[in-house]
Structures are given as C-alpha cells and as structure tokens.
C-alpha cells in the first residue's frame, strides 16, 4: 500500500472530525421539555407548549424560607422582598407585604368607576342612584356595616363591593407576622415573577442566583435559616445543571469501568485509546448531524444518544478480538454490517416521529452508528499495529464454549421465560403506561415533592383550566377579554365555573373605560340628581360630597394604562395573562372550578360552546392537564407504532440478508424473548413504562441483534478456534454494556435510571437468550 493511500482514511477522518467540532461549537443546547412537544401541534397543543415554555408558570419562582422562628422568617421574607423588587429582575414579588396590599386596595378603590364591569348610565339616574344607595344602607345594617360606613361617603352605591365580587373564591396563602406562611407555619413563602421570559434559561439562572445571593447577604440572618426554590424555571436551570453534572459523572464512571475492563483484555493503553475512537467519532458525528438538521440539540438527546452510541464500543471489541486470530475478513465484516444495518433499521423509524426529541435521537443514532462503523472498518486497521498482543483468553474461550455446549439442551428455557413474561405483562395490562408528562422531566423525586409542598403553601395558581385567544393589538385583546368576561359572568351565575381571572379586571380596555366615563353625568347634573335620589333615605347629600368629587375625578381623568398598575399585584395579573407576541397579543383567562378535586371538574366543551357567541376568532378553552396527558398518549402511541415498525423492518432485512426464514427466526426470537422479559421484570418491580423505556428497548434490539448475528453466523469462520474467539469477544462486549448501563441505572435522575436498568437488563437477557437460541450447535 502506498503511504499516501494508507494515510487517506486518517486525513479524511481528521477533516470530518474538525468539521463536526466546528458545527458543535456553534450549537445551541436546550434542556426544556420542548423536545417532547409535537412538531406540528394543534391549536390546543400549541397553547400548552407556549404555557409550558413561556406562560405565567414558566416565569414563576416559588420561594420558601425555613429555620429560625416565625418572626425571623417573616422579617427575612419582607427584606428579601424589598431587595428583590429593587433588583429590577422581577416583575413582582408577592409575600403578603402590607405596603403592596395597601397599594392594591387603593388601586381598586380609587379606580372603581373605571374598573366596574357593568357601569352604565342607568346607574346614575335618580332611580338608579336611589336603589343603589338604599341597598348600601341596608348593608350598613348588616354584619359588614361598621366597616362599610368608612367607604360609604365616597362610595354610597357600593361599587367597590361589586368589584370584589369578581375575586371571590380565590385561595390565598396564610399570613404570619405580616408575611405569607405555609399552612403549618413552618415556612415563610414568597412568589417571584421574573421579568425575563421563561425561555431565556440564562436570564432565569441569573434571577435564581440573585434570589439565593440576596438571601445569603441579608443582614443579621440567623445561621439556621435557609431558602428553598422551586418552579418551572428553577427546574429547567437545575435540570440543565443536574443533567450536565449527572451525565458527566456517570459517563466518566462508565468510561472508567469499560476502560479498565478493556485494558485488562487489550493490555495496551494505545489499543484502548484506538478502540474508543469509533465511539468518539460516532458521538461527534451524531451531535453535528442533529445540530445541522434541527438547529439545536436537546440535552436528553445528548445523554441518551451517547448511550446509543455505546454500541459502537462493541465494534472495536469484536474487531480486535476476532482479528487476533486468522480472521475471515469478508465473513466478519458481513456480519458486522448486518448488525449495524439492523440497528440502523431499528433507529431510523424514529426519524419519522412527529416529536423532535425522538427524531433527534433517530438522526443521532443513525448517523453516529454509520460513522462509528466506518471508523472501525477503515480507520482502525490503518492505525493498529500488525500484531495485536492481547491477553490470552484461550482457556476462558474453551471453558465458555464447553459451557455453551452443555447448555444447548436448555433451548426451551428462554421460551419458557418469555411465556412467563407474557403472563406478567398481561396481568399488568391497564397499568403498563405512565401517562404523566412530568415523568420525562429530569427532576428528582425530592425536588418534585418540594415543588408540590410550596405550591400548596402558596395556594399557587391552579393553571389547569384556561381560555385563550389572540387579538391584533392589546386594546382589542382587552376588549375581547371583556366580551368573554360577560359570558363567563353568566357561567359563574349558573355555577358552571366558580369564577375567573381576566386581565381586564385590573386593566379594562380603553374603550370600556371611556364608555364608563361617558356614563357618568357631569358635575352640575349630578348635584341636581343626588338630592332627588336621596329622598326618603336617612342620609343627606351634604354627607356625600366626596362621592360627587370622586365621580368627577373618574370622569375627567385619562384612562388607566398598564403603567398605572406598577407596584400592585394587579400588574402581575395583567402581565401573566396578556402576552405581546411578534404580531399579535395573546390573552389568557383563567377559569376557577367549583370542585377542583373532582375527576373532571369542568366541562370545557360547554364553556367553549357558551363562548362561541362572543365571536372571538380562534378562542380555545383548554384543560392543560388533559391536554398534556393526551399529548403524552399520542407520543407513546406513536413510538409504539414506530417501534413495531422498526421490528418489522429488522425482520424483513434479516430475512433478505440471511435468505432463510429459519435463520431469521434464530436471530430475532431471542431478541423478542429478551424484550418480553425486561418488560415483565420492570412491571413486576412496580415501574410503569414511559416512552424512554420504549426507546431503551429499541436499543436492546439494536445491541442484541449483534450478539444473535454473531452467535448465528459462527463468527466468520467455521473452525472451533474462531468460534471460541467470537464468543469471547461477545462476552467482553456484553460485560461492557451491562457495566456501563448498570452505572446509569444507579442515577437518581429517574429518566436516566430507567434507561440504564432497561438496557442493562435487556442486554443481559439478549446475550443469554442468543447464546441459547441463535448459536449453532457444534457438530
């Protein structure tokens, strides 16, 4: 071979790797749930996605302060609130702060005539005034009388109370020492809304850091006090860190394990390094390919994809160990190519997934595997020394072969296992699948519990039911909200819903405000009407001059704008329900239900039907919980179909390549038995399957098909010596896989541990079953 040609693969490889590194350096890595959201969502799904990504929820940080005594916690809460408000990073901090509550009260009281939902000219006729004022006097006689008398001179028609009606039914946190506290009184709790959108993970991380640091620096803080944070953005920042930390920790651990094992066999660091080259090549190519085709790479694709590529380490093991003898090159590579082809066939079905996460995995594995096997085939031979001085596993090979020969009689065993497994699966039918989208989130159980705890403490918004529509401008959006509000008030009276939260409560449209101003008569007219209205009532108009003054002030002032809300919690209400988007404004109205503990607390179709008469375009009523569950079901259904298709493709491929149905069955039956057994073990141990389990099973098929093919083909030679060599290489490869996935199974991130246990166990089953079923019995 000429030196130039000999170095060609190396040069090509270097160039390709350089290109990949360049692509990866410019890649955006994301770690939210977006990967699990459909590529072409329905209107409701889009809403769900927007809410998860950038809704009020995504900007909400729940804060708990523990330790110290109740007074100290309340003091810290107040001081933290003051400092964080001043930081400018937050739209608002809520902690039961008295000053903010006072501002809220003043905002609603001072602007009652602009905010009143059905203020009309009829309210200011002599009759209208008389009726309203006499009602108020009746109320003065009632339980609230001694309070109402304070606002009566300015608000004799009871406008403020009507405003309050809108908020009835809202749950509010408890209060201790002037700050919000948990029900059990053990924690002070606060709510923070970040100014940055939920999608801006970096800004979210900054906000979270700011909270922690500000707390740490609070003066005279007792040492045993501590801060707890939760919320979507906390999760996404944390999960990015955890995934990074956990993946790198586990990856190093499994790399170390695999490396020591291989070093034991290879007895040469150089061989070891070369043996890992295909893995590296595959991983870099895979990431670059995903980045080029999707524009970004999801963290989970990275973590999971790299484990898929773990299959590549097997290629070099097979190659080294089998090459050490008199390798029948043609036969060997044919088997390897067939193994790779089945893996690729299995993974390529993912390319057709409607969910970017799965499609990314598909691209990653297909491209990565091809690159890895190419590197093994063309790069390794040029770099390897002529003579491989591997550990002599001759005796082990003989012993193992003997064992295999003795077990040949037990061929029925895997089939028996498979039947038992099938029985277990049938027994668990109906509870096989976990339908909760949150199971995909890489959040530890402890953090999920903390989240639930703080959420309960805060009576945090139950954002399950909402309606949404878009309008071309903020003004039209608010007008739409008012139209919908009129219908929703009827539904509240019919007790279909318990109430609702509309941005128009706090910030009515300019049109509505003007109409309300217009309905107020001028000062002279009011001065004329009031005494007539008071005829027969025990109050004189001289006592109600403040009322007349307030009315004229409301009539003459400029309509309220968003800026007028600054510093009130009403600003949060508006900001979290009204979103300016690139070319329109999205409006959300939250629906409160009568009984949130009921299985289906709200008939959204009825609400939707009632709202049709508003004529608002694209108005959608959505149950976020149901929507996410449906989405998850779609997702699972799709991958189930794809996985089945993948298996079918693999069978067809093998049928053609092996040109014999019997041989095809000998390769595939052990794999199916393995899948049945893993599934049964998982179910029996109390796990519920998620889509990640399904993808893991696909990986089991991909890896297992190599074992089955090698056992079935006899390793490229018919001599017993070669066969033993092949068998030893399979043992080494399986040990590596089980070791590295076993470590993954130890992870405390549920997602990673479920992958680890599924693949580790699956590889073991696939190996043992192939050993029993695929292996050609020695003559």
């Amino acid at each position: 071979m000429k030196p130039g040609i000999r170095h060609l693969p190396v040069a090509l490889w270097l160039a390709a790797m350089l290109a990949c590194v360049l692509v990866i350096a410019n890649t955006r890595f994301v770690s939210d749930l977006s990967a699990f959201m459909p590529r072409s969502p329905s209107e409701r799904q889009q809403l769900l996605i927007d809410q998860l990504r950038d809704g009020a929820l995504a900007r909400l940080i729940m804060i708990g302060i523990e330790g110290g005594d109740a007074g100290e916690r309340a003091r810290l809460s107040r001081e933290l609130g003051v400092k964080l408000r001043a930081s400018g990073l937050f739209v608002g901090i809520q902690n039961g702060d008295a000053a903010m509550e006072q501002r809220d009260r003043l905002y609603f009281f001072d602007n009652r005539y602009l905010l009143a939902p059905d203020l009309a000219a009829a309210d200011f006729t002599v009759d209208g005034l008389h009726a309203a004022i006499s009602d108020s006097i009746t109320a003065l006689a009632g339980d609230a009388g001694l309070f109402l008398k304070k606002i009566f001179p300015r608000d004799p028609t009871g406008q403020t109370l009507q405003l309050l009606e809108q908020f009835v039914g809202k749950s509010m946190p408890h209060s201790e020492h002037g700050a919000w506290a948990s029900v059990d009184g053990q924690r002070a709790v606060l709510l923070a809304y970040t100014r940055a959108p939920g999608t801006d993970t970096r800004a979210q991380a900054e906000a979270i850091d700011a909270i922690r640091q500000t707390f740490a620096q609070l003066p005279e803080r007792q040492a045993d006090t501590r801060i707890l944070l939760s919320g979507t953005s906390v999760f996404s920042v944390q999960s990015r860190n955890t995934i990074e930390g956990e993946v790198s920790k586990l990856a190093s651990a499994s790399l170390l394990l695999v490396a020591s094992l291989l070093l034991l066999v290879y007895r040469s660091p150089r061989l070891l390094a070369l043996g890992l080259l295909p893995v590296l090549t595959g991983a870099l190519t895979g990431i670059a390919a995903v980045s080029l085709s999707f524009g970004q790479v999801h963290g989970l694709t990275l973590g999971f994809g790299t484990t898929l590529i773990g299959e590549a380490v097997d290629y070099s093991i097979y190659f080294y160990l089998q090459r050490a003898g008199q390798l029948n090159q043609k036969h060997f590579w044919r088997t390897v190519w067939l193994g790779v082809s089945t893996s690729i066939a299995g993974f390529s079905v993912l390319l057709f997934s409607g969910f970017p996460g799965l499609a990314q995995l598909g691209v990653y594995s297909v491209c990565g595997l091809i690159a890895a096997v190419l590197a093994t085939r063309y790069l390794l031979p040029t770099l390897l020394p002529q003579q491989l001085d591997l550990r002599d596993l001759h005796r082990f090979g003989l012993a193992f072969d003997g064992l295999l020969n003795r077990t040949a009689r037990l061929r029925w065993l895997p089939l028996l296992f498979a039947v038992i497994a099938a029985a277990v699966i049938v027994q668990h039918r109906g509870q096989i699948w976990n339908r909760n989208l949150a199971t995909l989130s890489p959040i530890s159980k402890a953090d999920q519990q903390l989240d639930l705890k703080l959420r309960n403490d805060l009576g945090a918004p139950d954002l399950r039911f909402m309606l949404a529509f878009a309008a071309p401008s903020e003004e039209l959006a608010l007008q739409g909200a008012e139209k919908a509000g009129a219908v929703l008030r009827e539904l509240t009276q019919q007790k279909l819903i318990a109430g609702f939260d509309s941005p128009a409560f706090a910030l009515p449209s300019q049109a509505a405000q003007r109409a309300r101003q217009h309905s107020i008569p001028d000062a002279d007219e009011m001065r004329r009407r009031l005494p007539q209205a008071l005829a027969g009532l025990p109050v004189g108009s001289d006592k109600l001059q403040a009322f007349l003054a307030d009315l004229q002030a409301a009539r003459d002032r400029a309509p309220l704008l968003r800026a007028d809300l600054d510093g009130t919690s009403a600003a949060l209400l508006v900001d979290s329900l009204l979103f300016k988007r690139s070319n329109d404004t999205l409006v959300l109205i939250l629906l409160r239900t009568q009984d949130s503990s009921a299985d289906r607390p709200l008939d959204i179709d009825r609400v939707q039907a009632a709202l049709e008469k508003t004529g608002l375009p694209h108005l959608v009523v959505i149950d976020l919980l149901e929507e996410s569950t449906n989405l998850f079901d779609d997702y699972r259904h799709e991958i189930f179909v794809l996985a089945a298709l993948g298996c079918l493709v693999i069978c067809v491929l093998l049928l053609f390549a092996l040109r014999s149905a019997a041989r095809m069955l000998r390769v595939t039956v052990p794999l199916f038995c393995a899948i049945a057994c893993v599934t049964a073990v998982l179910l029996a141990s109390g796990a519920q399957l998620t889509i990640l389990h399904l993808v893991s099973l696909l990986l089991v098929v991909a890896i297992g098909s190599n074992y089955a093919l090698f056992f079935e083909s006899g390793g490229g030679s018919d001599t017993p010596e070669e066969r033993r060599r092949m068998q030893v290489s399979l043992v080494v490869a399986t040990t590596c896989i089980i070791g590295s996935f076993g470590i993954l199974a130890l992870s405390n991130i549920p997602v990673l541990s479920s992958i680890g246990s599924t693949v580790g166990l699956g590889a073991l089953f696939a190996f043992v079953f192939s050993m029993f079923l695929s292996r050609r019995v020695a003559a």
Partner: protein, 200 residues
C-alpha cells in the same frame, strides 16, 4: 394569587366576633371577680338566642336595625344568621369564617390571615375558654355592677390593636346576656340586644 382588598371580610369578622362572649355567661357564682366569671364561662357548652342590633352611624340621620338568630357550640363554633333587613350568615368554625350573603357566592377566610382580627378573636376565645391571662394580654378587663345587673368592659390595651373598637361592654343579669355594646373610636356604636331562646 392576588392579595385582594379584603377589608370587607375583616369588618364582617370584627362585628361578628363582638357577639362571641355573650353566650358564655352561666349562672352567677358568689364573689365578683373576673377570674371566677371566667371559670363559669368555660362551662357553658351551647346556646341559642335571637338578637336585634341597632347601629348608630354618624353619616346616617337615623340608626339602622337588623335582627336574626345566634347559636354557639363550645369551644369555637359560632353562627350568626341575620334575617332582616337582608339575609346574611356568618359561621365561625375554628379559624375558618364562612360568610354568605343573599344572592352572592359564599366566601371563606382564615382569620389567622388578619392579624388584627386574629388578636381580637384570640382574646374573645380567651373569654370563652375562661383564660383570663390570654384576655388580659390584649384587654383591660373590668367587671362592675351586681349579679342582677352586671357589666363586663373590655378595653384594648394597645392603641393600634384596637383600631375599630374603643371598648366592648357586655351587660347581663344573672346568666342572661342582655346586651353587647360596641363603641368605635369615631363615636359610632352598635348595641345588640339578645334574647335567649327558652329551653337552651
């Protein structure tokens, strides 16, 4: 999520709480000490009565009057149902106050969330529980008159804590509470006249 103007609830609560002590006055014992009164108060377990409440409010030319029913179950359940001029009901059970008004949705508040009210109610509960020391933490307690014509006067100790009321005077004869007289700082007042339902 939003902390809303809730003064209305607070006010309901305060006026409501003012009628708490009245059921708790049992047959009179010898001697005339608050401590002994407390001891007896703690023994009364249930009671039912009708009431008429007259509020004198400066802004109105004449007093406004309401009437209805009251019922009490020891240790902490109290119901006030106003029948005229408009039906309203207040139910205090533990720390939970449920307010219902004609034609409106009921609302529930936790009195702990209203420190002023909580202080107030804890003091009243102190009375019902016969816990004089708890009562004296917040009020100056004065007992005057004779068993046939007695008067218990509670004056908030702290200036700011009393906010709404300047004094609460409970008058009675033997075991019967006759009136509860609330006086507000601005001079407005409310007089509730109570008639126990016989057999209770």
């Amino acid at each position: 999520m939003m902390k809303l103007p809730d003064i209305a609830r607070l006010a309901c609560l305060l006026s409501f709480l003012a009628c708490l002590p009245l059921f708790a006055l049992p047959a009179w014992a010898e001697g005339w000490q608050p401590a002994q009164l407390m001891e007896l108060l703690a023994q009364k377990k249930t009671g039912k009565a009708t009431f008429t409440e007259k509020k004198t409010i400066g802004i109105l030319d004449q007093p406004v009057v309401s009437s209805g029913k009251l019922s009490f179950t020891a240790p902490d359940k109290l119901e006030k149902i106003t029948l005229t001029p408009q039906r309203e009901s207040l139910l205090l059970d533990g720390d939970t106050l449920t307010i219902e008004r004609q034609g409106k949705q009921p609302m529930t508040v936790n009195i702990k969330n209203h420190p002023e009210a909580a202080m107030f109610i804890e003091s009243i509960r102190g009375t019902l529980a016969g816990d004089l020391s708890a009562l004296e933490r917040f009020y100056r307690v004065e007992l005057s008159g004779a068993p046939d014509h007695w008067q218990l006067k509670l004056t908030p100790r702290q200036e700011d804590a009393g906010t709404v009321f300047s004094s609460i005077r409970i008058a009675g004869s033997q075991a019967d509470v006759k009136t509860i007289h609330l006086e507000q700082r601005d001079g407005d007042q409310s007089v509730m006249t109570i008639t126990p339902i016989p057999g209770q």
